[in-house]
C-alpha cells in the first residue's frame, strides 16, 4: 500500500469513528473480500460465512476508536475473523467440513490453473483441524509469514511452523493418494 493510500485509509478510519456512515461503508467494501474469504474457507459454509463476516464488521463498528492505522485494521480484522471462526467451530463442531458450495468454487477458480486440482485442494484444506486450517489460510491466502501468523492467532511461532509443515505434508499426502485413486 502506498503512502497516499495509507493516509486515505487512516482518514477513513477517523471519519468512520466520527460517525460518517459513508466512510464506514467504504471501509467495509475495502476489506469485505479479506474477511469473507477467511470466514468462508474456515467454516466451509456460505451462509455461516456471511453471518460471521457481518458479525466481524459489526464488532469493527463498535471498536473503531481503538484502531490506529490501516495496518492495525487489517491485523485486527484477520485476528477477529479467525478467532470467531475457531470459536464457532468449537461451539458447533458439527458444522459441515465438506467441499465448499459450488457457486463459490466456480467463482474462485483461476482461469489458467487446474480447476479440478484447486477444488480438491480447497476441500482438503477444509478437512484440516480448525487451528491448522487457520494457519494454512493465513499463510497461503493472506500471504503472512510465520511470525505474523503467530501474532494473529496468539500462538508460539514454533507451533505455527510445525503446524504448517505438518499440514503441508498431510495435504500433499492426501493429494497424492487421491491422484492414485483416480482410475
Amino acid at each position: 500500500m502506498s503512502g497516499d493510500e495509507a493516509c486515505a485509509s487512516g482518514a477513513l478510519l477517523v471519519r468512520a469513528n466520527a460517525g460518517d456512515t459513508a466512510a464506514f461503508a467504504t471501509l467495509v467494501r475495502t476489506h469485505q473480500r479479506l474477511v469473507h474469504s477467511l470466514a468462508l474457507r474456515m467454516l466451509a459454509d456460505r451462509q455461516q460465512a456471511e453471518d460471521l463476516a457481518q458479525e466481524v464488521f459489526l464488532q469493527l463498528y463498535r471498536s473503531l476508536g481503538s484502531l490506529e492505522s490501516e495496518e492495525h485494521l487489517k491485523f485486527w480484522l484477520r485476528r477477529v475473523t479467525m478467532h470467531r471462526a475457531i470459536d464457532r467451530l468449537r461451539r458447533e463442531p458439527k458444522l459441515p467440513v465438506a467441499p465448499l458450495a459450488e457457486a463459490e468454487i466456480v467463482a474462485s477458480e483461476s482461469v489458467d490453473g487446474d480447476p479440478l486440482l484447486e477444488r480438491r485442494l480447497r476441500a482438503l484444506v477444509a478437512e484440516l483441524p480448525p487451528a491448522a486450517r487457520a494457519v494454512v489460510l493465513l499463510r497461503y491466502q493472506e500471504d503472512l509469514d510465520p511470525l505474523e501468523i503467530a501474532q494473529t492467532l496468539r500462538m508460539p511461532v514454533n507451533t505455527v511452523k510445525s503446524r504448517l509443515k505438518r499440514s503441508l505434508a498431510e495435504l500433499r499426502e492426501r493429494m497424492t493418494a487421491a491422484a492414485g485413486a483416480v482410475p
Binding site: 456512515t21 467495509v28 469485505q32 469473507h36 463476516a53 457481518q54 463498528y61 474462485s108 484447486e118 497461503y140
Partner: protein
C-alpha cells in the same frame, strides 16, 4: 511435484473471493438494526477515562467511610442499650428490695402487742 509448485497451487486454490452482491448494504442494515440498543459507548479520551477512574475510586472510599460510620453507630447503640438495661435492672432491684422490706415489716407489726386492747 516440488514443494514450490505445491505451494503455488495452494495459493491459487485459496485466492480470496468476494462476498455476494450488496454485502456492504447488508452489514449496514444489520448495524442499524442492532446498534441503537447498544449505543452506549465508554468515553474514549484518556482524560475522561482518568476522571471515570477517579470517580470510581472516590465512590469506593465514600462507601467504605459510610460503612465504617454505620458500624460505629451500631456499636454505640449497643452500648446505650446495655446501659439502659443495667439501669432498668438496678431500678427493679431497688423496687424489689423495697417491697421485700415492706413485706417483712408487716408480720412483725401484726404480732406486736396492741397497746389499746
Amino acid at each position: 511435484m516440488s514443494d514450490h509448485d505445491f505451494e503455488r497451487q495452494l495459493r491459487a486454490a485459496l485466492k480470496p473471493v468476494n462476498p455476494g452482491a450488496d454485502f456492504t448494504a447488508r452489514v449496514l442494515t444489520r448495524i442499524a438494526a442492532e446498534e441503537p440498543a447498544r449505543r452506549v459507548r465508554m468515553p474514549r479520551s484518556p482524560a475522561m477515562a482518568g476522571w471515570l477512574g477517579f470517580g470510581l475510586a472516590a465512590s469506593v472510599v465514600v462507601a467504605a467511610l459510610l460503612a465504617h460510620q454505620w458500624q460505629v453507630r451500631r456499636i454505640e447503640q449497643g452500648r446505650e442499650a446495655r446501659r439502659q438495661l443495667i439501669e432498668a435492672l438496678r431500678v427493679t432491684d431497688e423496687k424489689l428490695d423495697l417491697a421485700y422490706r415492706v413485706v417483712n415489716a408487716q408480720p412483725h407489726a401484726a404480732t406486736s402487742p396492741n397497746p389499746g386492747a
